[in-house]
Point group: C2
Chain length 197, copies 2
Amino acid sequence: MEIVQFQQHLSRQLPELTADELAELTAAFTLRNIKKRQFIVQPGFVADHRIYVVQGAFRAYVIDPAGIDHTIQFAIEDWWITDVNSFIYRTPAQMFVVALEDSTVFQLDYATEQRLKQTNHRFETLFRLHAERAAAYHQRRLISALTRTAEERYEEFLAKYPTVFQRLPQYVIASYLGMSKEFLSKIRNHGGPKKLN
Amino acid sequence: MEIVQFQQHLSRQLPELTADELAELTAAFTLRNIKKRQFIVQPGFVADHRIYVVQGAFRAYVIDPAGIDHTIQFAIEDWWITDVNSFIYRTPAQMFVVALEDSTVFQLDYATEQRLKQTNHRFETLFRLHAERAAAYHQRRLISALTRTAEERYEEFLAKYPTVFQRLPQYVIASYLGMSKEFLSKIRNHGGPKKLN
DNA sequence: GTGCGAAGATGAACTAGTTCATCAAATGCG
DNA sequence: CGCATTTGATGAACTAGTTCATCTTCGCAC
């Protein structure tokens, strides 16, 4: 069942968690089904939940003044997603987070998370680890955006997430990689000798 | 003295800290003077310290295959700096972190930080907050890099860090903003009616 | 002081990536 | 099924930003 997958995931994050703690932790989350194209975060509203994806796919994106959307993060099974800025500072979100497929998630609301962290040192540790990894992830992404050409970012993506590529529409990947969808299409077809479909 | 400033900073981060805790925490750090141009992190070596800047300025940067450097982060008084990826995953750093001025810092080594976090729930909370804010910072920076033009990023920087601009050489700011130093120079002189010196 | 390296300004030529427009194929859905 | 919407390919014209090269200015070392 979903809860087993989720507890295994949490156990991998922090092996010290006891069975009781895993049970308490997961009980604090709500299992929820989300339909394709449904939004779980929208600009103007505070992102009140942290989401763990059991099954499905999401993307978080912003729309710039010119109306172009930019994917900040995506998430498939076993990943987490929310608008961090909005969630931690309790300010209105700048992002959209939308389901790309019919999905199943565990969600945790802000107040419950605070309670968990206060009552158990190890829960605090779990969220600290989570935040550190998120910081490292965003920093790696920033480095990639600043130091690599469009084609290099595409190759890097293919190497890192080979399965994700088939699964998401190309315009989502283009907007994640910081290039126009037309250019991604050109890279894929002409670009270099490599032409994995 | 430096330690007062540092304790005030920590108190602002987490007001619940008692005087005893502040004392214990700051005692775990080492006060250190660092000369201009000295490196505190270098590629190939694990970043073993987290640095709080008491006085001075630093920048963290990577060098791409073409030899161009890209500033990932800078830090002046009351900011923190290290190579997060290297520090938390204990892998060789990809970055340089260098002093831009003669500086004074408090540094905390990895093992001591682990001990602090284990022994006191509130210290764990402090580092959790720190990591969350770092994640949010890097995410905002990524959004800016993806959604704004060079000129907009420059204006944003001016608005956000007006004092920093005078203090750092222009090529550092250009590499932080993700543009060539020549282009930053052109923006500053021709760009728009605004021409703050 | 003067000589020299580092920082900034400026222009001309160039290019990586965008925009716009059209066409083709795939997918969903009533 | 069959139509409509979404997704992807491709080419031509364009532009934001780069690269390279030259010149000036400024700080500071001896």
